[in-house]
């Protein structure tokens, strides 16, 4: 399937406008092009001044780049969102149940629903977590579920990000900037707000305070520091929650209790929203040379004196080979039929699937199992002969490391490009918060592939973002 064939445009642009987009269409038709161009520049100035930047390594030039922001919103009707929301809740419930099971009785393996190898031989499996009980049995407190759409009622989950999904600051700031630029539009549109994300996040984190927490839990955000590509987001979230933003050197663990160094001495810390990978979080347990985390965090957590969010070892659930089994997890743990579909995925570790993948590589998307950020990925229809040849070699030598999926005809939304307005492919990352209950702010982050025909929406690969509207009525 090539991307040119029967692509679903969510707006129905330009002829056949779908109802949720009526207002956007009227707005686009009424505002002169020059004014929109002016607003685009204004948006860029706002982003720069607020400092909403994203560092992209491996490239020269400006170290603090802006992610391009597109003015045309992506709109979901309330009913569309409700069905998505239910599916997301169900999926994340199952993922948390799965991670809990993996570190306890492994019933899903004993029931023969998942190969043992996939769990125990997985680098994301952390034996250090075996037998540890967590508040509300939650491991992935903040999950970012990447969704794509191919038709009015066809949604697929592309991947589950259970470790440290980023991008939520763009969800909130895109709205903020849109409201500053077009206040009038919002007065008429009835868009569900997203600005309370910080409050919801704080509520979630407080609800998973460790059993030995002495009183009101002290929550902090742990960042690798200002040189991290998502630093802006870390500062943003700390700010929105009104909590301290700490670096590893600010923390220390004494007698299995975590403290931060304050001007008046040591202050006890109960919950850490950490934006540092497992490998770097605790040099006593993982990489000994890491300066980013703090020695002893894992032991403080194990002793019931500290909650790490997300939990160490949550990554076992967002592995691309484990992904294949998520619908089965939903049936197994919840006894329900999955509301959201997986993309049909070929597991290249199976000989038949590998053979199929090799035979159809030019029409498939092949992904490294442990890769993220659009690296280690081949989009068959868009790849050169040379790229395909290299990938085939890798596939044959390390089939276990790859899965393959059909190239989906991702939906499009009209987008400003150099030549005017044109349809561009989008995805959606809603953020699902799990604590005493599940909280989801309506919408999520819409990423858009700005190059014509491109399906890669990652910001590290030239993707942009859009404000995502869920209509209240």
């Amino acid at each position: 399937m090539t991307t040119a064939a029967k692509v679903f445009d969510e707006m129905g642009w330009p002829e056949d406008i779908r109802p949720p987009y009526t207002l956007v269409d009227a707005w686009l038709n009424s505002v002169p092009a020059e004014q929109l161009a002016l607003k685009r520049r204004e948006a860029e100035v706002l982003f720069r001044r607020i400092g909403i930047t994203f560092a992209v390594y491996t490239e020269g030039g400006d170290p603090e780049r802006l992610i391009p922001f597109d003015l045309i919103p992506r709109v979901l009707a309330q009913a569309e969102w409700q069905s998505l929301r239910k599916g997301l809740e169900q999926r994340v419930r199952a993922l948390n149940a799965f991670i809990h099971d993996v570190y306890h009785d492994r019933e899903i393996i004993r029931a023969g629903k998942m190969p043992e190898r996939l769990v125990l031989n997985n680098p994301q499996f952390r034996p250090e977590m075996v037998g540890q009980d967590l508040p509300h049995n939650v491991y992935t407190h903040i999950a970012g579920v990447d969704m794509v759409r191919t038709g009015p009622d066809e949604y697929y989950v592309l991947e589950d990000n259970c470790r440290t999904p980023s991008g939520v600051s763009y969800m909130v700031e895109n709205r903020e900037v849109m409201m500053r630029l077009f206040p009038d539009l919002f007065r008429r549109a009835g868009v569900a707000p997203v600005a309370h994300y910080g409050d919801e996040l704080l509520e979630t984190l407080r609800s998973v305070a460790p059993p030995n927490c002495p009183g009101e839990p002290t929550v902090v955000v742990l960042t690798p520091g200002i040189y991290n590509s998502a630093y802006y987001e870390h500062a943003f979230l700390a700010d929105e929650m009104g909590v301290d933003l700490v670096e590893g050197a600010d923390l220390l663990v004494r007698n299995e209790i975590c403290y931060m160094r304050s001007t008046s001495g040591l202050t006890r810390v109960d919950v850490i929203y950490r934006r540092i990978d497992d490998d770097y979080i605790d040099p006593l347990v993982f990489r000994p040379e890491s300066m980013l985390g703090a020695p002893g965090l894992h032991f403080a957590s194990r002793a019931g004196n500290l909650t790490l969010a997300n939990a160490i070892g949550a990554g076992i659930a967002d592995d691309k080979a484990v992904y294949i089994h998520v619908p089965e997890m939903i049936r197994f743990y919840l006894g329900e039929e999955p509301l959201l579909q997986n993309v049909p995925t070929h597991d290249c570790s199976k000989p038949d699937d590998l053979a199929y993948t090799l035979a159809h590589i030019e029409e498939l998307v092949v992904k490294a199992v442990h890769g993220s950020g659009g690296y280690g990925m081949l989009v068959g229809p868009h790849a050169s002969k040379e790229e395909i040849r290299t990938f085939v070699e890798q596939l044959k030598t390390r089939p276990h490391d790859y899965v393959a999926q059909p190239t989906l005809a991702l939906s499009t939304v009209p987008t400003f490009v150099d030549s005017g307005i044109a349809p561009r492919h989008v995805d959606l990352r809603p953020f699902v918060l799990s604590g005493d209950k599940i909280r989801i702010v309506p919408g999520g982050l819409t990423r858009v592939a700005l190059r014509d025909g491109s399906l890669v929406v990652n910001s590290s690969q030239g993707g942009g973002t859009k404000d995502t509207w869920v209509l209240e009525r």
Binding site: R49, I50, G51, A235, F236, A238, D250, T263, S264, G265
Partner: protein
Amino acid sequence: MLARTASSLFWLARYMERADYLARLLQVAGHMSAVRFDADNNSEWESAIVASGSQQAFFEKHASANPETVVSFLAFDRDNPSSICNCIETSRRNARAVRTALTTDMWEAVNTSWMELRDFEAGEMTEDRITEFLDWVKARTSLVHGVYANTMLRRDGFHFTRLGQFLERADNTARLLDVKYHVRLPTVQDVGGVVDYYQWLAILRVLGARRAYRVLFKGQVEPVHVAELLLLRLEFPRSLAFCFEQICLNLDPISSQDSELSAECKRIAHKQFAELRYGRIEDIIERGLHEYLSELIERCALLGEQIARGHNF
């Protein structure tokens, strides 16, 4: 509050104040050398380097101090950690590290300064543009200081910011006054002469204190009065007495669990303030102004160390 946050706020304000001081210093060097008509007209530029506290680094890089080398070193040199450009850069880096402790207005003031700085750096530096740049630095630093004073909650974060600003200012005022000691006059007879007079006047101009001087002392510029104004006058917001009063006022309310820990910095600050508050200019001059100032500069450094130690930076 988090010790690293306190440290970043302290240094954010220090570097902004330093940028302001360097801009003023370069302006005064220009003014002073303009009234020299003998061959030794690089002396003012040399003294500007001394007053910036960076002789060693400067002479490792440049053979002589002249308008070009000094302006480039103190204003734009990226290898000089205390150049104006690096001061603004460091301020902004500190601000970015503690964004959550800043008000939005404060962050935007610092960040916009940094963005505009990059525009300045991109252009060619003509003499006119340097003048424009130095005025811009003074305006931006005033803005940053004004914005934080007007928007920050009066809690520990504010006090640390204030401490940084006034400790830096104390150090700078002491160094500036000491410049006169290093400037060579053409001959001994010139002491008290026209060149000497204009040099004292220039110091007042750097600190924006010419009018203050007139109001307080009337008449001609007398070195002893300049020294009194810059050291002891509580009414003048760049005097050492004023700076140390601010330091004491902002050190005292900072909350601490362990009063022993922060006792030493408070002792140094209050002792120095008492000395300035009750000192007499005649005694200071008699002991030797240069010696007095050298001691003060050392004490500022010590106080900085003790503030950091006393609050776990």
